[in-house]
């Protein structure tokens, strides 16, 4: 059952993400790896994990993956469809959402994120789609899991634009700003899993993905990180998990082939 097979980094990230989702939670999950992770969690330890879609859909059970929140493939099987304010107001702003599993363009050491724009080399800005409900989720969910590619220009000392509050400037940051308790519980990259140091609210390396070198990790991170000598290796996917991902959840390998 736990024979180690070869797996892609995406599959490892899916599995690492799935393990962070708990049964019975209400969760926002972004497109791609977060969504596959939620589907895997629902088929393993968290059958009652409820996925929310800001467009106004609660608890869908898609039978195929689409291109985004607005794709009706992602609404299939929902027994409640309503408004943005039903999901983002009556659930999220009401304080009932446990976790948001979100991507970002940039993340800093306190888990703050940027979903809007980055600096160009020519001094201008490069604008992206904007976070939509990401600021709301980062502000209002009881916790977040962030997912970001592990590059120096993405794990940065200073964000170009702080759109999604993590812990702001540290342990008192959220309270001082008037934000509810919350903030990231994990940050997931293609090289490691970060958790949060409770005393400093800084990202600390919780586990390194198999085959990733510590120096490589430090070099790819835009802020100073401590990598303890006894740091764990991220637990690889089980063959059951791989089978579910490859045969049931993403048989077309849309999101789990790469990296």
């Amino acid at each position: 059952m736990t024979t180690i097979e070869s797996f892609t980094t995406s599959e490892l990230m899916v599995v690492a993400g799935a393990r962070e989702l708990r049964d019975g939670e209400l969760a926002f999950v972004g497109l791609g790896i977060p969504q596959i992770a939620a589907a895997l969690a629902q088929r393993t330890h968290a059958p009652r994990l409820v996925v929310l879609n800001e467009i106004g859909v609660a608890d869908p059970h898609p039978i195929e993956f689409g291109v985004g929140n607005a794709d009706p493939r992602h609404w299939y099987g929902a027994r409640s469809m309503g408004s943005f304010s039903d999901v983002m107001g009556r659930l999220l702003h009401r304080g009932l959402v446990d976790v948001g599993f979100l991507g970002a363009l940039e993340v800093d050491v306190h888990g703050n994120g940027n979903a809007t724009q980055v600096a160009r080399d020519d001094g201008g800005i490069r604008r992206f789609g904007g976070g939509g409900g990401a600021n709301d989720i980062a502000s209002l969910a009881r916790s977040t899991i962030l997912i970001v590619r592990h590059e120096r220009r993405k794990l940065v000392q200073r964000l170009t634009h702080l759109t999604n509050p993590g812990f702001l400037d540290g342990p008192l940051g959220r309270a001082r700003a008037g934000l509810r308790a919350g903030g990231p519980r994990r940050v997931l990259t293609d090289k490691c899993v970060f958790s949060i140091d409770e005393a400093t609210c800084r990202l600390i390396v919780r586990s390194i993905h198999p085959g990733v070198d510590r120096d490589e990790l430090r070099a790819a991170t835009g802020f100073a990180i401590d990598v303890p000598g006894d740091v764990a290796v991220t637990e690889p996917p089980s063959s059951d998990e791989l089978r579910l991902i490859r045969e049931v959840i993403d048989p077309q390998r849309r999101y789990t082939k790469g990296v």
Binding site: N69, A70, P72, W75, S85, I125, G132, N164, G178
Partner: protein, 296 residues
């Protein structure tokens, strides 16, 4: 007394300088046909608003119809970015009130209820808030009951809201199937409402499930019957998005030159029928028809 009219007449309800709440959410239920008509009419100076902008917004920005955006986010989902929107922001050609999508919805909600503002707990501590305070649409305040910090968002009452719906009766009682994102609040807040529908159904049909009516007839200024009026975006339980055309559009949207060619080919000098012919006609549209069990 029916508000049923032509697309051209409906588009005349949008006046230069108006604030227009758009219909769609990235690639679904966009009021594409109305955006085309506004591009043809060379509408100018519009402020456009949506919790999530879609193709319709990119068309209006790329064609120079819009000069201000009130929004939370926007994209063509995996087909790509809203190239013309992002480019206009990068070049400072449009001013933006960029906030969270819930903030947009709360501003509409306040407008729909006729309350002057609504408190929100988003935006706090982020770089999104200061420009909104500077623009006069948000204030940092305190809850007078508990003295906790809170953001106050000013109500937004657009001049026009447009919604592309699955159906309405001839009086304009419009029914939306599937999620409604900000359509409830936007139509409730707006001064004038334009409804574009796939099907006109009997009033008895609407009355048989009056719970599904998004906007009642007496709030509708214009109703347009225009099948495939949301193409290339999806209409739940009617048709899927046109992946081929969205990819083509996403590519065109990367540069102003390609966008202008797209507009010359598909928008200017066309009407809705010739647009549909140009994108593949009945044969293509038939391939998009939704499976009734799936809704797409």
């Amino acid at each position: 007394m029916s508000p049923l009219t032509t697309l051209a007449d409906a588009a005349r309800l949008v006046r230069d300088g108006d604030t227009v709440a758009l219909s769609g959410f990235s690639i679904t239920r966009n009021a594409t046909a109305l955006a085309h008509e506004l591009v043809r009419r060379e509408a100018r100076g519009l402020t456009i608003s949506a919790c999530i902008l879609g193709l319709e917004a990119d068309l209006l920005v790329g064609a120079g119809c819009a000069e201000r955006l009130i929004y939370g986010g926007g994209s063509l989902d995996r087909f790509g970015q809203l190239g013309r929107v992002n480019d206009a922001i990068e070049r400072g050609r449009v001013t933006v009130q960029h906030m969270s999508s819930l903030a947009v919805t709360f501003r509409y909600l306040a407008g729909s209820l006729g309350v002057p503002y609504l408190p929100i707990r988003s935006l706090l501590g982020s770089d999104l808030l200061p420009p909104l305070v500077a623009a006069g649409v948000a204030r940092e305040g305190r809850d007078p009951f508990t003295d906790e910090p809170i953001v106050l968002l000013r109500a937004l009452q657009p001049d026009v809201a447009v919604v592309h719906a699955q159906m309405a009766d001839a009086d304009g009682n419009a029914r939306v199937l599937g999620p409604r994102w900000d359509n409830d609040e936007a139509t409730g807040a707006a001064t004038r409402v334009i409804v574009i529908v796939e099907d006109i159904v009997s009033s008895d049909e609407i009355a048989s499930q009056p719970e599904l009516t998004l906007v009642p007839s007496f709030r509708v200024s214009a109703l347009v019957h225009l099948p495939f009026g949301a193409h290339p975006t999806a209409v739940y339980r009617r048709y899927d998005y046109d992946a081929e055309h969205l990819a083509l559009y996403a590519d065109a949207s990367r540069s102003q030159r390609n966008f202008d060619e797209y507009v010359a080919r598909f928008v200017r000098g066309t009407d809705h029928a010739s647009y549909l012919a140009a994108v593949g006609g009945a044969a293509k549209l038939a391939t998009l028809t939704a499976d009734p069990r799936l809704g797409y």
